[in-house]
């Protein structure tokens, strides 16, 4: 075994979900080994609860096309797709040195594009009762 290239390209959560779907579609044909099957169930469960659970490939493509004008790294684009930030605070978390690189208007535009292009994330039942939070105090 030889590693020819450690990081070829980054893959979004949505693409991994599609890959898992392909795997289980092929299951009957291929007979998958157990070590792969053990991985598929928890991975599908985790990814379906992330924003990728409701995303479609075409909305991601449209998102990346619209974000081309911003100087974002591939890792940052991957995180935007995976985490679907919907507040300035989350954007500050994801983008290194965000306040120096982008003006307030640019950040607002970025969030606007994300919100209008990507589907709303899956809703979790427990999130209904939001406990006391720093920002509401």
């Amino acid at each position: 075994m030889k590693v020819l290239q450690a990081t070829e390209e980054l893959v979004t959560n949505r693409e991994v979900l599609d890959w898992l779907q392909d795997c289980s579609n092929n299951e009957a044909k291929h007979k998958l080994p157990n070590n792969l099957k053990q991985l598929m169930t928890p991975m599908t469960k985790y990814l379906q609860e992330t924003p990728a659970g409701t995303q479609s490939g075409s909305s991601l493509q449209s998102l990346f096309a619209q974000l081309e004008k911003f100087p974002l790294t591939l890792g940052e684009l991957q995180m935007i797709a995976n985490l679907r930030p919907n507040s300035v605070l989350q954007l500050l978390c994801i983008l290194l040195d965000c306040e120096r690189r982008f003006t307030d208007e640019e950040m607002a535009e970025l969030l606007q594009i994300i919100d209008t292009t990507l589907e709303p994330p899956p809703i979790k039942e427990e999130e209904m009762d939001i406990q006391s939070t720093p920002s509401s105090m």
Binding site: K2, V3, E8, V11, N35, L36, Y46, G75, M79, S136
Partner: protein
């Protein structure tokens, strides 16, 4: 989170799978060897993304299997330093927190990488962030947003028993329990 890695390997197809189409048999051999295993310096291997190259099959004297040299792209889970990930608090003890993402649970957040000031409640076995006079508990089972600070491999002599540990931090605005920071 996820990335592709290009690998070259020589795979063995065992005789009981000679009846399958060649690439189905190769794909089985590949997944059996790599899926759910950690490769040091690469990450947790998931499975085949696509084939890039295969050479002719050959035999070894005294071995019933067929050997094929292949180049392929492997789907791998390896958090990148600086990346933000949402996981779930799995276990909490005086040294810090363990967090899981369902299919991988070796994510550790050191007590020094929590929000400041944080205290550990021995009785309840829970970390509490003292935020402006309020007690914010980091309960087991809650969703937690963390930043990756280090990925470490412990490789012993045999490849199959290598382990990957992801070190995270929740010190910073927007990090910590997802419920702390509503939109």
């Amino acid at each position: 989170m996820f990335k592709l890695t290009v690998l070259e390997d020589i795979l063995r197809t065992s005789p009981e799978r000679f009846s399958l189409p060649k690439f189905d048999a190769l794909s089985y051999a590949l997944h059996r060897k790599y899926s759910n295993r950690v490769l040091p310096g690469v990450g947790l291997c998931l499975g085949l993304w696509d084939w890039l190259k295969t050479e002719e099959d050959y035999l070894h004297p005294g071995d019933g299997g067929s050997w094929t040299k292949v180049v392929f792209r492997l789907l791998v889970f390896e958090p990148q330093v600086g990346e933000i990930i949402v996981g779930r608090v799995e276990h909490s003890f005086s040294e810090g927190l363990f967090v899981s993402v369902e299919f991988f649970n070796n994510i550790f957040i050191d007590r020094l990488a929590l929000q400041e000031p944080c205290v550990f409640d021995q009785e309840e076995q829970v970390w509490i962030w003292k935020y402006q006079g309020h007690d914010l508990h980091i309960d087991v089972g809650e969703d937690i947003r963390f930043r990756v600070v280090k990925v470490q491999y412990e490789s012993s002599s045999s490849v199959s028993s290598a382990a990957m540990t992801v070190y995270g931090s929740i010190a910073g605005d927007g990090l910590g329990l997802v419920s702390w920071w509503p939109n």
